[in-house]
């Protein structure tokens, strides 16, 4: 039987886990020490959020399910994260821009989820929202710094917009389980968040002297398990230990 609530919680968990994992690739490679620490702190927050969601999903699934099995033993097609979070980290501009797009979205979504009918989802959202406020402030500042910086930094973030924009539309196209949950008072139709998100992006882009893309064809599929080629590679790396040594622990 399809469980829409579990699908939705896994979607929230997978988004946070995969982006957390992508950002963690900067560990030891950040452009300067302080920003290396910043992006990995954000990773830690995201992975913490994903753990809270996975633990809750496992509790509903029962049957000896647990957070590790959900993170490490599901296959690519079972992951419900958006395409945006699975794309390679790219250069610093691309990482920053993705974080900004995602944090702006997460802030709107979690503000909705804070008042939802499911107490545990509301608690996780409320807790996470405090962290997201820092992520959004930090990434907004960096988008402005790069856009309104040097010729090269400006060009790099323009290139990042070109690379990422087509993956932003999916955030606002509800999957079936999002609609089902919204009808049950958990979350909202993702499309309703779009105007506010666009407003935020326009505000920051204007400050950053960046052009706002007029329109685009949007890629979709991640929420339903149809991913880009990149997800398979990151899962292979992330899941290797549990696949080779099942049940191994620290």
């Amino acid at each position: 039987m399809k469980n829409h609530l579990v699908d939705y919680i896994l979607h929230l968990a997978d988004n946070a886990l995969i982006l957390g994992q992508r950002n963690a690739e900067w560990c030891g490679h950040g452009p300067v020490l302080e920003q290396d620490i910043a992006i990995t702190n954000i990773s830690l927050d995201l992975i913490g959020q994903s753990r809270n969601f996975y633990q809750y999903a496992a509790q509903i699934i029962g049957n000896e399910s647990d957070e590790d099995k959900l993170a490490f033993l599901r296959n690519e097609r079972e992951f419900r994260n958006c395409l945006l979070v699975e794309l390679p980290k790219g250069d610093w501009a691309q990482t920053i821009l993705r974080q900004f797009f995602f944090s702006a979205y997460q802030q709107l979504l979690f503000t909705e989820l804070q008042k939802c009918n499911d107490k545990q989802i509301a608690a996780i959202a409320t807790k996470s929202l405090k962290e997201v406020a820092y992520h959004l402030r930090w990434s907004s500042e960096w988008v402005i710094r790069l856009g309104d910086g040097t010729e090269e930094s400006h060009q790099r973030i323009v290139d990042a917009i070109e690379a990422l924009w087509r993956y932003t539309g999916e955030l606002f196209i509800s999957a079936d389980y999002e609609i089902q949950n919204a009808n049950a008072g958990i979350g909202t139709d993702a499309g309703l968040l779009k105007p506010q998100w666009e407003e935020k992006v326009k505000e920051i882009f204007a400050e950053a002297t960046l052009p706002y893309p007029s329109k685009s064809y949007f890629q979709t599929g991640g929420k339903e398990g149809k991913h880009t080629e990149h997800l398979g590679y990151i899962l292979a790396e992330m899941q290797y230990m549990q696949r080779v040594f099942p049940g191994s622990e620290w």
Partner: protein, 165 residues
Amino acid sequence: MEALATIENIKSVLDTVMDPEVPVLSVIDLGIVRDIVVAENQTEIIITPTYSGCPAMDVIRANIKMELLANGFTNIKITTVLSPAWTTDWMTEDGKKKLKAYGIAPPNPKQLVCHTDLFAAEEAIECPHCHSYHTHRVSEFGSTACKALYVCDTCREPFDYFKCH
């Protein structure tokens, strides 16, 4: 020997369980112990994480259990709750003093500094070394999730600020 489980007895043990990342703060100082429920055959300690991803939480849970067992308390249950979400306002005054003595600037009261304006300088954070207020933030994110990096413009020493949350 089995110890008598009263809230006071349990609390005095918890006063000695330190945050592994900031070893001058006990779990009580941090404000993460939300409740102690003593029942006939079980004592439940209810705790809440500081940040979602705080890696110290697993260690803290284990340390609470070990310390209570070592002091003769049995049938301990530790429950983690997320709501209401932890805030630095729950840190004890005593805890703030200990932090400062340890060289970490304690969190300012939340209503003074928690705003999200871009490039906004936080209100004066006092240098824990020379007590100057001429300090500036180097990075929003520091050595652990709960801290930010600062530098003192008077004594030039870098320091951690336990950021308000």
